[in-house]
């Protein structure tokens, strides 16, 4: 509640500053010798408004971070808080309940201990809210006055406003980068905790995966945390089976679309192919689990396999390959289309057939782009969760037989995080280590792919 009020207050003050500064700038303009300012009056107005709003926003951000702590402190030091349970869950519940009633979020208290705390809470809230508002006003007034007093006919308000705007844009672009760093940091933090319990050697090179969420968390059996079967399952499904499907189909459809299809066919087939990329992966998951997997099992029975798995790696891999086709084909399409027409003409004029031209000139020239597309597709495939969660099994299996059930890194992340173990159990923490490995692998693939694409773009410019 209080941040909203402060926010509105900040905007209102900013508007006031804006109007005042604009009026002041007009006056300056009238009074100045040649009737000119070095910047337009609106720039003066924005300069003052930004000087009011930005410090106030900074204060609000800071205040909403520290005010709850100060309020709790005040409440706990009140006499009514003396007989609260010492620590932990119960104490927090009582405090939360009292706060909810004090702020009006809940109608009444259930816990009698909380009732005594409502009054101190209310007092503390209004005390600190008042402080917040007063400080906000003070900051707005000081910053606004300082900025306002700087307004002069030759004051370069425009350059300053432009600089502030640039800083805001920079901050916006930093958000995504900082988020990535934050994600990585949290992953690393939990991964380090996991590796404190299970050695990285056992994790990265062990061949048996079967964490027991019910086992004693302080002394985990490291031999059950060997992730090799998961890495193998991920590679086998995402990078081998899926790519055996996606690379030839994607490449051939790209070649057909760029070299053979007439414009009318192309205008139908290309969007249809792109629709594949828009199908939610969970829908592919249904398709894999309900249609492809049983069909493959039946086929395996017909071929004489005894007791084949109904959750085969093949089913998940095939459907994932189909999902990846648009990635491969659109990257290949772009890079083949980017090969200059003069290459094609040159080859045809030598008496090469269309087919020879494609094989010997266009595809080699477009190869870097195609390779980059395949790498992006692999990184997409091994990070894919929904299809494998639905169609692959959770049984870790180190096998080369595509008809057997296998599990992947992403499936195990889901299984471990949604399992019954407590959060600091090594079985749960292993999800972070798996996520970290996956993150590093896809990051590496994307990095290399982007480098390749960049180098290749320069080749024809």
């Amino acid at each position: 509640m209080s941040p909203t009020i402060l926010l509105l207050l900040a905007l209102g003050l900013g508007l006031a500053g804006w109007l005042a500064a604009r009026a002041r700038a007009w006056t300056l303009r009238r009074e100045s010798a040649d009737g000119r300012l070095s910047s337009l009056p609106t720039y003066h107005a924005w300069y003052v408004a930004l000087w009011i709003v930005l410090p106030v926003l900074a204060f609000i951000a800071l205040w909403s971070a520290i005010a709850p702590g100060l309020i709790s402190q005040a409440v706990l030091s009140s006499p009514a808080a003396a007989d609260l349970p010492a620590f932990g869950f119960q104490r927090q519940t009582i405090l939360n309940e009292a706060r909810a009633v004090a702020t009006g979020a809940a109608p009444a208290v259930f816990n009698p201990q909380a009732r005594d705390l409502v009054e101190p809470f209310r007092d503390a809230l209004s005390y600190y809210n008042t402080i917040g508002i007063v400080v906000t006003l003070l900051i707005a007034f000081l910053a606004g006055t300082w900025a306002f007093l700087r307004l002069k006919p030759d004051f370069a308000a425009r350059t300053r406003v432009e600089r502030i705007v640039m800083a805001i844009l920079l901050a916006a672009s930093l958000v995504a980068i900082l988020t990535t760093i934050g994600i990585l940091a949290s992953l690393i933090f939990e991964t380090v905790r996991f590796f404190g319990l299970v050695s990285p050697i056992d994790f990265l090179f062990g061949t048996h995966w079967g964490p027991d969420p019910m086992a004693n968390p302080d002394n985990p059996d490291a031999s059950r945390y060997g992730a090799i079967p998961l890495f193998w399952g991920t590679l086998f499904i995402g990078a081998i089976i899926a790519m055996i499907v996606a690379i030839p189909l994607g490449l051939m459809s790209a070649i057909y679309l760029t070299q053979y299809a007439n414009p009318k066919v192309r205008s139908w087939v290309k969007p249809a192919l792109e629709i594949l990329a828009g199908v939610p992966t969970v829908v592919y998951g249904y398709f894999a689990a309900l249609t492809i997997a049983p069909a493959i099992r039946d086929l395996a029975i017909d071929l004489g396999a005894s007791n084949p798995s109904s959750e085969s790696a093949l089913a998940a891999g095939l459907v994932m390959g189909v999902m990846i086709i648009p990635f491969v084909s659109s990257m290949a399409d772009d890079s083949i289309a980017a090969v200059p027409q003069s290459m094609r003409d040159g080859s045809l004029a030598m008496g090469a057939t269309t087919n020879e031209t494609i094989r010997r000139v266009l595809v080699p020239a477009a190869l870097p782009g195609i390779v980059a597309g395949v790498m992006l597709a692999i990184s997409r495939a091994i990070g894919e969760t929904m299809i494998v969660v639905m169609a692959a099994s959770t049984a870790a299996n180190l096998s080369g037989n595509p008809l057997e059930s296998m599990t992947t890194v992403t499936v195990q992340i889901v299984a471990m995080l949604t399992g019954e173990g407590s959060f600091d159990h090594p079985a749960t923490l292993s999800a972070f280590a798996l996520g970290f490995v996956l993150f590093m692998v896809t990051l590496g693939l994307n990095f290399v792919a982007l480098r390749v694409v960049k180098r290749y773009r320069e080749a024809y410019e």
Binding site: M343, D345, S347, A349, G351
Partner: protein, 262 residues
Amino acid sequence: MTVVHENLEATDAKMSARDVSVFYGDKKAIDEVSIEIPTKYVTAFIGPSGCGKSTFLRTLNRMNDTIPSARVEGDITLDGEDIYRSKMDVVQLRARVGMVFQKPNPFPKSIYENIAYGPKIHGLAEGKDELDAIVERSLKRAGLWEEVKDRLQDSGTALSGGQQQRLCIARAIAVDPEVILMDEPCSALDPIATAKIEELIAELNGRYAIVIVTHSMQQAARVSQRTAFFHLGKMVEYGRTSDIFTNPLEQRTQDYITGRYG
């Protein structure tokens, strides 16, 4: 219609076109052009931009086939055979009628592979030694051998513009064509590189029938023995180069070569 100078001595016609018209969709780009391309001479096509000279050049090895909306009417023969007949093998035709483009377009392969490309797809060489010999011979004929013999494995695209264009000429020569079509081969090159290409054309003259499209009248005057002047899709005048430039019969030719338009 076309004015053909009467003092042309009879020569063997390598290619001949009779009443050739080219359409892009409904638009007529070439209007009933008839010409004989002599075996031993360099023939230049001159004319202002958009007059259809490049379009006509591209009909001679059926490169217009790659443009879906293009349609050709009339007869074009190579050694008396109609190249637009349904049984004509375009691959064979283009091996016999090579082409060099306006912008140098070496493949992004090594210099060696650029030259070996044609011989490989046409199966001209048995074994590595024979291929090496073809590459060397072609580069020598194109006057590029001395400059690149020590770096045949370097990329063809790393050469200078003029070298790239000579590489493209060497590539065309490598399949031993009978006719070489050149579509403004010097328009992307500096004067020194242009001079080298012109020298090369003079050396190749006699060995191959050469047809060159050019914007530069000086170039046409320097390298060719026959000149055809194109204007608005029609061939206006055709004759010995010396006659066209000193004694044009048509007012439009006169105006163009004296720089009154174009």
